[in-house]
Symmetry: C2
Subunit: 451 residues, 2 copies
């Protein structure tokens, strides 16, 4: 067994594998070999970040879109690096990448429906997985990820970058310090006008036309179909992921049930008609996705979580964060905090700034003063941390901080919200993917400045 | 039939009574005779407002609390008015007030559980009703109010003052002008730290102790019991009332079902223990009311409404308003508006101020320049308008703008949210109290500067 294979077999899933990781990967002599499946704009961006690291080598990439492959090769050329092995024969060529290459890990940044089969294949090929959000689209796919990760001992991490947003981590810090008291209610969501993402002119990624599917480019090629086919919270993880550690989800707490309610669907058709005319063929498309989808989750320890999904309407961006406890409340939409006994005026908001600075998370403190330029690291720095977390998890210094249980508990809201909406907002039970281990699992995300 | 009796019989409920109102009440020679049942702090305040009007005489009052009666008499003395007839023998003495006095209308400002029986008795005694929120506490009470109002032809108006809040009416104005496009989603709620209202020292109305019930004063005497007995949205009307006209509820639209989910109950016990010590007898009380209750309503025309009830925790006051359409969005918590095509920067909030000024409602324009001092009229002026609407409705110049269907559709969320929470957040059907008339009813609230 060579060194890489030993790492691949023993590291990461301490609780699932028989052997405990017994060393920290030094990373100096041999780099981790990482593959990237899906080299669209997101995949390219992650490649950029991985290549910034001295301990990572991107040895293989996979995509069926020639334009995206060309753009990706250009990244390597610009950095003076050799072009990695390319898998682009057909949409199943990722299977060859996974079986032929001796990879430590693979980053999956493909259209959503490929996340599950690719993650499963990777783990079965003894490759650790970092999969973009959402990790899976059905309950059975979620269970499959859990079972496969447990059986193979491979990491199945969800690349939920917002968990690492600076304000989120400061608030998590404050939650852990008890400053909000006992947490009673959280809110999150994905309120992002995606109309120019869902439609474009077929050559630029954002806007310029009302095409999607075959005639669209980038996300419009595939993402928009989900708005046609499905009435659900299509994108719950950016809201749910960040509040999960604050609520100790899967680690002392779990989500019991969810109800979802969708508004009428108007925005996408309106956009097509206004930009492309009522004669445009897409003006006849019937979009199932309600413009605003509200989901309410109940937790075993009593807390409620409200998630908002709102991507078809003109609105300023907001992830709708609110964290409320028996002692205080943070509300992102007005950038404010109120803490009883600390805030100078009773019942008056304070700017969040003072608190976000004072309780800046150790991880951010550590890296914002290093040579790593976080402002260039994507989405305000949080992509730097999620890429780093994936690599550090593979290196196995300690248990991964975002694991397969997080991946599926965040993602399962997609199919469950769909079921709830279909049945007139009935509460849908949320499976306990930890099979009872949530009762004894300890919090693990963001405990220190490690990862 | 004398003039008053004629008004009482024919005015107001045009659709329910056989005779249509055929004249506007001139109000110069004979004043409307109004009774007030419940002369607590709210009742006293409304008496103040009614007495400001030249067309109203408060001829009888009723309460069983001697202290409150004394405070009320003082209002009349200060104004140099004769003390009205007092009914204070026992808690059923209101029946004598209603049968003995020849009243045009009665304002009911008693503890919630009395709202329904008092309103029913008033209507059966041929007296128009203005009842404080909520109008009823059960589904059958709601139906009873509807049936009785229809049968007697008497007004059963809910005194939902927030419908008249200046920003709300400006936004309603903008909604009617189509500036938000087709409305898809609204939010509202009652997020108000009531701990100092629910508990006091038995002599002052707000705070100073942790007593309630027999040992409490003012609202703490009765309101707090609802937090002991009931897990529900106890106070939905301040959030739901204002958005109802924006959604044409009962007038072209109706609410179909509601799901409610409650967080754990912590805040009230924490407050008692912290202020009164863990040895205080009230520290043993088991409060059923979850600290945050979230309800989601689905409308016949597709829209969703999110209501938040949050009264047990330290937090700044907010009624959680948000109004969103296919063209733009208003969010009160950051005092902002965004309208596509109007807002100068794409996806950027603007201050709401410009819009609230420009689209100030005609009713506010009319009265904010009159001699009526709205700033002294309670809750930023909105109490002036709700008192005025009640009186104008009785005078019967035209149909009442807030009627019994509004009263019950706003109030029924109390029992329905309780049912939903009890059943694990199941969707509960919302009765069509209009019995199909919502399909043809036309919008009526706030159409002009009349009332």
């Amino acid at each position: 067994m060579n060194r890489r294979k030993f790492i691949k077999t023993t590291a990461v899933l301490g609780s699932a594998s028989l052997l405990k990781p017994s060393f920290a990967f030094s990373g100096s002599s041999s780099k981790l070999k990482i593959g990237v499946i899906g080299t669209g704009l997101r995949g390219q961006w992650m490649i950029n970040l991985f290549l910034n690291r001295p301990d990572v080598e991107i040895s293989a990439i996979c995509d069926i879109d020639d334009k995206m492959i060309e753009m990706t090769k250009e990244i390597f050329r610009r950095k003076g690096l050799p072009i990695p092995k390319i898998y682009n024969r057909d949409e199943n060529d990722y299977l060859n990448l996974l079986s032929n290459e001796d990879l430590d890990g693979v980053n999956i940044a493909t259209p959503w429906r490929w996340h599950h089969p690719m993650a499963i294949s990777a783990m079965k090929n003894n490759v650790h997985v970092g999969v973009e959000v959402p990790a899976a689209l059905s309950v059975s796919e979620c269970w499959d990820l859990v079972d496969t990760s447990e059986k193979t001992g491979k990491l199945c991490m969800i690349m939920e970058n917002v968990c690492y947003r600076r304000d989120i981590m400061a608030i998590l810090n404050m939650v852990r310090l008890g400053m909000f008291g006992e947490i009673i209610h959280c809110q999150g969501g994905y309120q992002h006008d995606l109309r120019h993402v869902k439609f474009n002119d077929g050559s630029q990624p954002y806007g310029g036309g009302v095409e999607f599917g075959e005639k669209g480019f980038s996300e419009a090629r595939w993402r928009t179909h989900h708005s046609v086919d499905k009435n659900a919270d299509l994108y719950p993880t950016h809201g749910l992921g960040p509040v999960s550690p604050m609520l100790d989800i899967n680690r002392g707490n779990r989500m019991l049930h969810v109800t979802s309610t969708a508004s009428q669907a108007r925005g996408l058709n309106k956009y097509i008609v206004e930009k492309g005319g009522s004669d445009h063929p897409n003006a006849q498309v019937n979009f199932k996705l309600g413009d605003v989808v509200t989901s309410v989750i109940k937790c075993a320890n009593g807390q409620t979580i409200v998630l908002s999904h709102d991507t078809n309407s003109p609105r300023p961006y907001s992830l709708n964060f609110r964290v409320q406890g028996t002692q205080g409340i943070w509300m992102k939409d007005n950038k404010s905090i109120y803490i009883e006994g600390l805030s100078p005026q009773n019942h008056r908001w304070e700017s969040e700034n003072k608190y976000l600075n004072e309780y800046d998370h150790p991880l951010w403190k550590r890296f914002s003063t290093s040579k790593d330029d976080l402002s260039q690291a994507g989405h305000g720095g949080m992509d730097f941390f999620i890429a780093r977390a994936f690599i550090e998890s593979i290196k196995g210094a300690k248990k991964p901080v975002i694991d397969v249980y997080d991946a599926v508990s965040m993602s399962v809201i997609v199919p469950l919200s769909e079921s709830s909406i279909k049945s007139g907002s009935r509460p849908i039970k949320i499976p306990d993917f930890t099979r009872g281990k949530w009762k004894k699992n300890k919090p693990i995300f963001g405990l220190d400045d490690n990862y």
